[in-house]
Symmetry: D2
């Protein structure tokens, strides 16, 4: 498969598309990003790299970090973790409290905010120095020791994240948060503010496509665990647009409101995109288009 | 892959499992079925057949019929059909009216009852003799001209299906049913009462795994359309246990309250099970176990 | 209190108000009514009558009939009736199915459609000839033997009442309807299609204000029962605008989409209005204004 | 009316009732109260006082304080206050977030927690020294300058009030809280921790029954405003048991989880009860019984 040519084609087509989405305004610090940035990177399991556009530029991974905290928690806790968070799609917007109320503080899945906050609480309980150890984990996954978080973005989220404070306290009222709400949210805003390039992210996702083994050869999850998280991404990675993404793209993946998407074709490749314009559902508009073009052109979909 | 041996092993393990589920009581006519029946059938894309237990015995396919009406409607209407029914998981039990109210009569997906009733309405509008033409379609798909529906099961559903009557009238009140509610439900109860064996069902599902081309070589959907319905089955085939099934089994599939499950591994095989004992969510308990064993033993999962 | 002058004043003020509401389109037969009709009638407990405008013209009482079926059911069944229908406000629009689903087929109160259908089912079970006996009851209450129902309105509701068919079947699916759904709805559409004038309705409501004793001196409810139904009207008589009505008018009452309102000041008077223009919530716009003016001018509110 | 004898009778009957309710465990500091306390006090509009049992003992007024903050906000803001909080019953438990989500951060009424927090925010915005000025207002209403709040109860609420923190942040995320969430909640927990005796509370409620004029003759609300708040108490004073209370007792009132109830018969009397055992809905079990006995014995109900 000539990925260089394919990515080139996609890039040309993407640039000609009319743009309608807008950059997130939820987090003031992110609102100032150039909306016209576009990067894409594909890494095959034999280690070949294909990048285009702004694929080496760092962006805020935001909710994509949820896949990495889940992986770390899964490696530490195993199946036990599912006693506190479900594996079903939510059918509701990502920060809905309604479902949480009907289901007594047990979030539907770890990729909605409520679930990710519970996973953050698990890591805070399990790790001695949660921020440092998680950052080390992400650096190890991607093989990039210079990956870091963005303090002003984390601060910006803290200043405006009333909905997340509400979620965390609501879950705490049901007894499904063990630590101080402030500590848990501090970690949660930290993980969301981590910055990576498309290339770094494609490398970090390598182990999902590779049966749990990282690009550098380290087994962080069992093959079965990796498959399970891929299944979970497929079902729940795009909030209430997960069905649309599955229907059109047919690959497991996860989006973030920083405009990033990371996806993978098990046993074949990982692929990431970055374009800050979001559609109504909060997913990157051009990123979704680019990935749909990729599976159409290559015929590579899991279905 | 030695499927004969694998199915034999699964059968032995399944027989030793403690049974807790119960046969459906929703439809009186189905409540009298021997709960200990168990059949399983696998058909590879080169046409090899592997069956075990009661795999040649007919059972009521019930909601599995939804995949076949959707395929027929998709072949007739193309993408237009998604203007009246969505492609997102519902996150709610299969016959919930709540979501339908919030979303103004547009069902979340065609595999919950509300969505299947809308699809039934599409077929009633499109076909001259809907029952005959749909039955012919099913017979053609599976290559078994003697497949038929069960009149007393259809009657039994009509007598007790108050929830479905409620759903249909509710959707009609939003204008998303074109024909008489009675006519639409008559067709819907008919499709649910069709009886097939595991083998016939595995053959009927062949085209989903084979890029839209039936076992006898007829193209009923484009490759892209077949992939899209597989994606939809993955997301929504098991009601609010779809995530659980995806997480544990990792294959697109659809269950019915008659105890049947039909699933597929794209480009490889179709597989069906039948065991009437249902778990709390209304899915076949042993069928789900058998399929989990299959993907564990063969390593064949899409993720 | 000089009610003649007060009604005259109200009438003058009402005529000068800008009109924004629209006649119901839910029931085609009612959509043709002259939107500018306005009638008002007040009957004191000493039997004095004060009418103005089109107060002697018949209109479709619609949901106001719910108060009379509840009174009849209460007189027949006593407190037992509350085992099948609640006494709490619903906080939702009058034909919502959501609450019914969460509360397993037990309607919140007898003044939302779901509750009124359950009450209709009670009367169908209790009475030999439900329509005739209920009509006799209404004639007796108001002292007007020529009160009748409107066959074409009843038919019109039957043709378009998909939401009510949905509600009734939904409740039946929970086991809270005893009779055939068709029979119950036939009675329900009948009761809604009864036609009365403001004057007849004010007379029919007399017993609510008079401790359960009709204008002609017959005790149909105990004093305690009458008080309880007044309390219920106060809480639930105006759908999800009940609070607004209580807050502004401060009298127990009930509205109908035919544009009628019947209200009462216990131990003092009953008062009815008719104006077909409805506000967004489905209550008569000018009727609510007229009643607010009445309590402001007379200072007669229960609070 | 011989209130001395009536209260005596009620007291005797209440003491013989089997007790099933339990003291609140939501607020640890309140969980230690003697469950067998019972007090009742009635104050007529001519100023006569009738007390029985522990009617002079202080208890935590909790949610009853919501009526007094609403009165103060209404006196300061007038009708403008209803732009930020509704006047409709909620039909849901007192601390539900579901409705708030569907209605975009505008609480249904000021007597559910969400609404009371918005009212607290109004007072924090309007007053220079909110705690002191509100306490002065309460002391003035009841004529008891020694009324105070309980610091350890306020602290106890702060430690465990995760649901209220969730509510406040959730409302803030919709923009309907102006001040810092911590400041608003600090005031809210303060108001809930105020302690009063049945007698003091009956005196404080005097102005509701007296057209807005306090026992000492000061006009704090207009007659129309007082009537409106009475109507609001009638509709919403007892959470999702408001209908039950209205149906059985037929007086406007408000309960608190400290076991208190304050109610009134407009133009006649105010009446308060205290008994810490709560029923399932969070209302004082014996208090509700006592008030039902009172209206049955005296025939004094507004309906």
């Amino acid at each position: 498969m000539n990925y260089t040519a394919i990515l080139q084609e996609i890039y040309q087509q993407i640039k000609r598309l009319p743009v309608t989405g807008t950059v997130t305004e939820t987090i003031p610090e992110l609102a100032t990003i150039d909306p016209n940035k576009f990067g894409m990177h594909l890494t095959t399991l034999n280690g070949d790299d294909f990048g285009i556009g702004n694929s080496d530029e760092k962006f805020s991974i935001q909710s994509i970090s949820k896949t990495l905290t889940v992986a770390m928690a899964f490696s530490l806790l195993g199946e036990r973790m599912w006693e506190r968070v479900g594996v079903e799609p939510s059918g509701n917007p990502f920060n809905s409290l309604v479902q949480l109320e009907y289901e007594k503080g047990m979030p539907r899945n770890p990729f909605i905010n409520a679930g990710a906050i519970v996973v953050a609480d698990m890591l805070v309980s399990q790790l001695k120095d949660p921020k440092k150890e998680f950052l080390d984990f992400v650096r190890m996954l991607s093989g990039s020791p210079q990956i870091d978080f963005n303090r002003s973005v984390a601060e910006s989220e803290k200043q405006t994240g009333f909905r997340n404070v509400a979620l965390a306290n609501f879950i705490k009222s049901f007894g499904n948060i063990e630590n101080d709400v402030d500590t848990v949210l501090d970690f949660y805003f930290f993980q969301c503010s981590i910055e990576m390039s498309c290339k770094e992210l494609a490398h970090a996702f390598f182990f999902f496509a590779n049966g749990g083994i990282t690009k550098s050869g380290r087994q962080v999850l069992t093959q079965s665990q990796a498959k399970r998280l891929n299944a979970l991404m497929q079902m729940c990675g795009f909030y209430d647009e997960s069905g649309e993404f599955t229907y059109k793209v047919g690959l497991p993946g996860k989006s973030g409101i920083g405009g990033g998407i990371a996806a993978l074709y098990p046993k074949n490749f990982t692929v990431t995109t970055w374009s800050p314009r979001l559609n109504e559902k909060g997913n990157s508009e051009l990123g979704m288009n680019a990935l749909e073009l990729l599976t159409t052109k290559t015929g590579m979909s899991i279905f």
